[in-house]
C-alpha cells in the first residue's frame, strides 16, 4: 500500500494518479478501436475529455454549494483545486450528460459506440482497482494463502488484484470481439455480463461493503445484472441477421457472379 509516491522529487497521490492513467489510457484505447466499427474515434475522445472536465467542475461546484456556509466568508477559495473537495452526486451525472450530449450531437448515440467504449471502460476500471490497491481500500478477508497481502497488520486476500486479473481477461476478450462482425451492442452486453459475474466471484473475498440480510449487496446486484445482460445479449443475437446470412449479401454475391459471366 502506497497512498503517496515520490515522482521526480514531488509527492503524488498514487490512487488518483492510477485512476487518471486508467481514464486516459481507456479513452485513448476506445478512440483507437473506433475504426474497427466505423465510428468516429476523435468524437469519442472529445466526448470523454469534455465530459470529464465538465464532471470535475460540476463536482467542485456541487461541493461548494453543499458547504456554502463554509465558503461564504471566503468564496475565492472555491477556485482552489482540491481532489478531496468534490461532490460525486453532481459530478457523475453532469459528466455523463455532457459526454452523451456530445455523442448524440454527432449522431453517435448508437450501440456500436458502446461496443467500442467497452474495452476502454474496462481499462479505466483497471486503473480504479489499482487506485484501490495503492490506497489500501477494498479490504479482503484474512487468508493464509501464499499470495495474501499484509494490510493493516493482517494478511488478507488482495481483492483489487483479483479484480484487475478478471478485468484484464474481460478487456482482452472485448478487444478481440470488437474486431469480429458481431451485432451492434453484443460486445458491450457481453463485457457487462462478464464484469458483473467477475464481481460476484471476487467480492466473495471482501471484508467490507454493504450487507443486505447477511449477503453482500454488490454480489446480489452482480447476479441480477449478469442475468439481465446475458438475456439481452441473447435477444440481440436472436433478432440480428449475421453477415453471412444476410439476404442482401446473397443478392450482391449473385449479381456479382452474373456480371462476371
Amino acid at each position: 500500500m502506497a497512498p503517496i509516491i515520490q515522482v521526480f522529487g514531488f509527492s503524488v497521490q498514487a490512487g488518483p494518479l492510477a485512476a487518471l492513467i486508467g481514464f486516459v489510457a481507456g479513452l485513448s484505447f476506445a478512440a483507437r478501436l473506433a475504426r474497427w466499427r466505423d465510428v468516429d474515434g476523435a468524437a469519442i475522445h472529445d466526448a470523454g475529455f469534455y465530459g470529464a472536465l465538465a464532471g470535475l467542475l460540476a463536482a467542485r461546484f456541487g461541493y461548494v454549494v453543499a458547504h456554502w456556509s463554509a465558503y461564504a466568508s471566503e468564496p475565492l477559495s472555491a477556485l482552489m483545486p482540491s481532489l478531496t473537495a468534490l461532490w460525486p452526486w453532481t459530478g457523475w451525472p453532469v459528466g455523463l450528460a455532457v459526454a452523451g450530449w456530445m455523442l448524440w450531437r454527432k449522431g453517435m448515440a448508437r450501440a456500436e459506440v458502446l461496443d467500442v467504449l467497452a474495452p476502454g471502460v474496462l481499462l479505466g476500471a483497471i486503473g480504479m482497482a489499482a487506485a484501490d490497491f495503492l490506497n489500501g481500500d477494498s479490504l479482503g478477508l484474512p487468508t493464509t494463502l501464499p499470495w495474501g497481502v499484509a494490510l493493516w497488520g493482517v494478511v488478507r486476500h488482495p481483492v483489487p488484484l483479483y479484480e484487475i486479473a478478471a478485468l484484464v481477461i474481460i478487456a482482452g476478450s472485448a478487444v478481440v470481439s470488437v474486431r469480429r462482425p458481431l451485432p451492434a451492442g453484443a460486445v458491450a452486453l457481453g463485457a457487462l455480463a462478464a464484469y458483473a459475474m467477475a464481481r460476484v466471484a471476487v467480492d466473495g473475498f471482501r471484508a467490507d461493503g454493504a450487507l443486505l440480510a447477511g449477503l453482500r449487496v454488490s454480489q446480489l446486484a452482480g447476479v441480477g445484472v449478469s442475468a439481465v445482460a446475458l438475456w439481452l445479449l441473447s435477444e440481440v443475437l436472436a433478432t440480428s441477421v449475421p453477415a453471412h446470412r444476410n439476404p442482401t449479401h446473397f443478392i450482391e454475391a449473385e449479381s456479382h457472379a452474373d456480371n462476371s459471366q
Binding site: 493493516w152 493482517v154 459475474m197 447477511g214 447476479v223 442475468a227
Partner: protein, 176 residues
C-alpha cells in the same frame, strides 16, 4: 444455437451466482476485522501520547474522544504547512467542540516555539520528536490532515496542502 446457450448461461448465472453469494457470505466475526485502529477512513484512529509544546503536559488522542479532532502533521520547513497554519488557528477558535492538534515532525522545541510565537498561533502542538506517530499514521508527505469524529473514527484524510479555512470548515461541518 448461441441464443439458447446464452439463455441457459443467464439461468446458470442466477443459480451459481446466488449459490456463491450465499456460500461466501461473511460471518459475523469477519465483518469486524476491518475495525482495528489504522490510519484509514472509516476505522478508529490509532491512539498516541506525545508531549505538548507548552504547559509541560501530554497530549493523548483518546482523551479528546467526544470532540471533533483535526490532526495535522506538519513541520516549519514545509511551505504549505506554514501557509495553512492561520486557517487551522481560525478553526480552533471559531468552531466549538473542535480541537486542532498539530503534530510537529521531529523538530526542536525552540524552533517550533519560535515559529508559533512569530505567527501568533496558539492551538495545541504535539512534539513527535522520534517520528513514532508519523510511522504509526504512515505519513508520507507533509502536510497530511486527518479529520476524526466524536467517536474517534477517521472520516477523511487530506494529503497535501495548503488547506483553506473554507475547506477545513466544510470537512468539520460534515462531522457535526
Amino acid at each position: 444455437m448461441a441464443v439458447q446457450w446464452l439463455r441457459r448461461l443467464a439461468l446458470a448465472a442466477v443459480v451459481l451466482g446466488g449459490l456463491w453469494t450465499w456460500i461466501s457470505r461473511p460471518e459475523a466475526h469477519q465483518v469486524g476485522v476491518a475495525d482495528a485502529p489504522a490510519p484509514r477512513v472509516g476505522v478508529p484512529a490509532p491512539d498516541f501520547t506525545l508531549p505538548a509544546l507548552r504547559d509541560a503536559q501530554l497530549i493523548r488522542l483518546s482523551d479528546l474522544r467526544g470532540r471533533i479532532v483535526v490532526l495535522n502533521f506538519w513541520a516549519t520547513w514545509c511551505p504549505p504547512c506554514r501557509v495553512e497554519m492561520p486557517a487551522l488557528h481560525h478553526v480552533q477558535h471559531s468552531i466549538p467542540d473542535v480541537v486542532v492538534v498539530g503534530v510537529n515532525q521531529q523538530e526542536s522545541v525552540e524552533r517550533v516555539d519560535r515559529f508559533m510565537r512569530e505567527q501568533a498561533l496558539d492551538f495545541p502542538i504535539a512534539l513527535d520528536v522520534q517520528g513514532e506517530v508519523n510511522r504509526l499514521y504512515r505519513v508520507r508527505a507533509l502536510p497530511t490532515t486527518f479529520f476524526i469524529d466524536r467517536a474517534g473514527v477517521i472520516r477523511d484524510i487530506v494529503y497535501g496542502g495548503p488547506l483553506t479555512k473554507a475547506l477545513i470548515e466544510s470537512k468539520v461541518s460534515a462531522l457535526r
